[in-house]
Symmetry: D3
Subunit: 254 residues, 6 copies
Amino acid sequence: MAEIKDLLNADTVIRPDGRAVDELRPVKITRHFTDAPEGSVLIECGNTRVMCTATFAPGVPRWRKDSGLGWVTAEYAMLPRATSERTPRESVKGKVGGRTQEISRLVGRCLRGVVDMKALGENQVQLDCDVLQADGGTRTASVTGAYVAMVDALNWAERHKHIRSAARVIKNQISAVSVGVIDGTPRLDLPYVEDSQAMTDMNVAMTGSGEFIEIQGTAEHRPFTREELNALLDLATKGNRELQAAQKAALAED
Amino acid sequence: MAEIKDLLNADTVIRPDGRAVDELRPVKITRHFTDAPEGSVLIECGNTRVMCTATFAPGVPRWRKDSGLGWVTAEYAMLPRATSERTPRESVKGKVGGRTQEISRLVGRCLRGVVDMKALGENQVQLDCDVLQADGGTRTASVTGAYVAMVDALNWAERHKHIRSAARVIKNQISAVSVGVIDGTPRLDLPYVEDSQAMTDMNVAMTGSGEFIEIQGTAEHRPFTREELNALLDLATKGNRELQAAQKAALAED
Amino acid sequence: MAEIKDLLNADTVIRPDGRAVDELRPVKITRHFTDAPEGSVLIECGNTRVMCTATFAPGVPRWRKDSGLGWVTAEYAMLPRATSERTPRESVKGKVGGRTQEISRLVGRCLRGVVDMKALGENQVQLDCDVLQADGGTRTASVTGAYVAMVDALNWAERHKHIRSAARVIKNQISAVSVGVIDGTPRLDLPYVEDSQAMTDMNVAMTGSGEFIEIQGTAEHRPFTREELNALLDLATKGNRELQAAQKAALAED
Amino acid sequence: MAEIKDLLNADTVIRPDGRAVDELRPVKITRHFTDAPEGSVLIECGNTRVMCTATFAPGVPRWRKDSGLGWVTAEYAMLPRATSERTPRESVKGKVGGRTQEISRLVGRCLRGVVDMKALGENQVQLDCDVLQADGGTRTASVTGAYVAMVDALNWAERHKHIRSAARVIKNQISAVSVGVIDGTPRLDLPYVEDSQAMTDMNVAMTGSGEFIEIQGTAEHRPFTREELNALLDLATKGNRELQAAQKAALAED
Amino acid sequence: MAEIKDLLNADTVIRPDGRAVDELRPVKITRHFTDAPEGSVLIECGNTRVMCTATFAPGVPRWRKDSGLGWVTAEYAMLPRATSERTPRESVKGKVGGRTQEISRLVGRCLRGVVDMKALGENQVQLDCDVLQADGGTRTASVTGAYVAMVDALNWAERHKHIRSAARVIKNQISAVSVGVIDGTPRLDLPYVEDSQAMTDMNVAMTGSGEFIEIQGTAEHRPFTREELNALLDLATKGNRELQAAQKAALAED
Amino acid sequence: MAEIKDLLNADTVIRPDGRAVDELRPVKITRHFTDAPEGSVLIECGNTRVMCTATFAPGVPRWRKDSGLGWVTAEYAMLPRATSERTPRESVKGKVGGRTQEISRLVGRCLRGVVDMKALGENQVQLDCDVLQADGGTRTASVTGAYVAMVDALNWAERHKHIRSAARVIKNQISAVSVGVIDGTPRLDLPYVEDSQAMTDMNVAMTGSGEFIEIQGTAEHRPFTREELNALLDLATKGNRELQAAQKAALAED
């Protein structure tokens, strides 16, 4: 990956937190964060902290009954003071905002992308990602943390004989990371201060075998070229490999 | 307090977690739990864990404008997997349930009960109590934790010159605890397993000077006598004194 | 009860409506107020007028099916011009407010507290308390009136062979009354003008055998002492006894 | 009106309550039914009972500001046990049903139809029609009762110097009645038992000078001819004249 | 119909679009406007354009199950820029407005009025009327267009053996038109510019055999006399006959 | 672009509608589709038909006041029978679904991506994209059609002196197209029948200068490789160039 650094003139770029342009924030994954859920993970990516729980439950939604297939779904939310200004609760407003729904759907698709629904059988995994503290990259941290919580929940389900083999259900590993272009240079894993300046912003979810499940690039403030896209995807590939190592390390403990 | 134990035949009562009938669960109050809020507290009462944040903001709701008085309000909520079965999100259901509103109102009244609105001036403190893990007593833990978060937020406001003196705003200390009658014996600080068996259930919020702000006793399953009420209030008084000592100890650190 | 008066220096207290501090407002309970419901009561406590209907229906909510047990539930609401200023309709606002839900839940718990769910069998009693005119104490009048409506509905159910015996279903009598401290003196049955001045406000629901089902004391504006609490409970006990006599008298007519 | 009877072979028609086909149910209009509203009327048409309140308030909705014109609006609702089966509350369902909105709009248009908005000035009259007991014709009873409540509220406003002259604001008298065709014969003022059988159903609101403000005829079950329409309008004219006499008599009392 | 013109002094009335007082706007009915629905019609009445689709589906709502009878229902809506000022979407506001519900109900009643529910069997026809461009008379255009869409859907159902005979289901033809009094003269088929000036406004739905299904006359701004009513009904009769000829012509094509 | 065809073995792929893998469906853009909006376009991409209107209005949302900057926003919706099965209306359900919000946000971002907010000044363009018929690619057709509607609205605003120069407001052209991998071969512009089979699905919005505003690739059913991504982007680039030619041709007419 040395080439990327060269390309990006990383030596001249000073990031607010002193990182190199292709460097992740410190990642910390705490399993068994709470007791009740089948899988419960606190993931910290720098100052971003997301609590990810995985609920394993027999049965599937009505529209999927008698298909022999399972289902995986996700909900994302922010606590009111995850942000520097208080965000009103969506429960009190009486509706879920567009951003929340968009992210919930993204997390669900990513996790479904690595699950063998037939091996899961008519069971459901519900992922809940609640942001305790937001400092950029909450949606990608949610994907990365939810994967670990899901593995724990599926192992629980195997131990309790709800499924035959967690390993067969999980087809692949999944993680996600954000990348963006700030002041003309692509950077990996943007904290809020960079995210809010980014002209181009991209979230990339990748499997353990290096393929894409989701690419969401948006450039409301300045369109990006094919070359920039390639540089961003290189950074995202590097970041996801490191996140996947962190996931493996966390799952190896017990 | 030895009398209470005698009265209650405490020696013969075996509680699920081995506590004496007049014994609190271990209390842990962590300040500065997250960075963004003016006050951020994690309170743990046994396995119950509530994140309490206090947001200080200049200005008051419209109906209170130009009164010279401040306002304190609270919102309570449970994360979906705080409980052993997943509870659907109220944001997704599109409305806040009766229990949630009832508790939010209770927490707000308790905290307002110890604030001098004139000394606060036209500023608002918003308390958010989010239950990460529920094992009984979440509403009383919310009151107890929110007090500490509010003190931190008011001290922040004093340091930032939004108010003249936090000490003048806070008229009194406040904490709350649950008590109940199980199998005919009054007990202090019920975990879920006892709470669900309790015939009589009471939440008592008390000031540092030993007076009541809120008493909510409910006995849907078996009415209680004046004598039982008195025993419960004795237990609650003891429990609140110990909680107030824990609040003071937490606030003394820095 | 002469002692209470002495304690309270009743001679020196002049209430807005000329009552003694331990005196109820005139109570009038009209049964068969409307024709359609199985029980239909208009209760008037001074100027407070609440229409309480009881609907008896076979069957229970889904979560209670096949339990062999019945269910009792309540809904409270105010007509828009029950109050001196018009209150917007909650149907038009699209959500039920916190106060409404809190009172609905209170009324439900009180009535369930005197019903033998096994004797009721898988039947439901739905209580609807609609305030035609509000002058303080609407929630306690709702409890007191709903009891009479429920008795009528259960007698109807017995006559129509839906239950074997109304007497076996009704384990106890229930009424409720408000008490409060104004200008330092505890008083019974507060009209709006006193309620809005009360520093401490308490609603007490009591059974015919003198035990408590609900005690809700709140003192947002000035905490109350154990002594004041005792004086308030004495007043509430006296008031509930008189209300229960009025209930009995109403039910004796035909 | 003898001709109508002849035409309708009234001698051979036996109505469930023994009335002649062109006979109104007994009408009773009670003013000052409750104390708080500026106008408060209980109207009883047979077993139908509607509480109509009129709220006079200075000011108009935003879209009408600075027009020099007033506004009149209405809301209609049914209490849950106005009907023989309990109807769920629209506040609890979280939305106002189509029937309720349709009737609210009808009542508003009728009352606006007799008000001189310029003479009213920038003031608003809000009419609330709450059905305590429903036995057919609740929307027409609402119009008829709301008129009396509005007159009381405008007289109140004159006495309190909010408007110069109630008489100038009220351009005309208004009442409404239902008519319908059952078993081929037109009938006046249908109770529920007839209403539910009616093939054609029409509500007619008429001014004191005999002109129409609203005609709503609906014949989902059997279309009606021009001749039937004429017979129905004759009946409605007779009914409205009698209702207007009852309104006048009620307003003459004091 | 020459008499009407005379009566109305049609020669002296100049309508904004140059039409005679008893003249319809040009009507154009396009069948098979879109491909997916069983019936899909674009109806244009002058500048008013409504897309009417009819969905045929086996089965009926729960409350009608096992009755052997079918059901017909309708929903009306306006696209945001059907009007000269943008109207906010009701989906975004989270509730359907009173006007929308009122019109949806009207369209449903009109179409049900010409359907033999027994011949339809336990099948449902859902009509959707979406206004692409609004220039007065959108509700009556919806009725007229929905009839043609329903006929197409029922013919489809006959071809696909869901029903035995479309002809037996359709008891009668139905169309609707608006009439109103402007400047003292009754006029047929009001465009927006006339509608907004109309003192009296009436919508009349008529069957192919010349009988009424719905008459909705409203005169918030000036009551109307029996004579005016008769003139309006004459105009509506003429207009509906012409609309029914246009429906027949459209259905004759293929 | 011959290379892509080779790479994709286009000769052996038979698409349901006979197109080559890199061939767009026929595009038809009709301007002035309705009269009221400042811009009104019907875009047809094969059987997909979307009505796109652009509303120009002075003023901006409150949060953007006094910034000197304009705002562009979008709402997307489907008519109930745009699809082969009827989709319930979101207005009737009382909430906007996640998919609808996600697409509305996407369209808004794309259009904002080519607008100079400073040149627009404190004015707002509201885009409404209503799908009359859905056959795949409705969100990309919405972007492509909305651009043309927006240009018309901005030209209108220039003619009416609301802005100085439409050309200065519009920084770039924008269009969007879908691409996907079916049976292992990348294809351009998927109709519903292909879309529902696609393992990988990507929407690409591109400017007139060939840069990206949005890339949304999702591969819930089979992850995609970097090589596939490149092939898809090549196809999308070709498609967008052709769509932009169609936009130019439509805007050249008058």
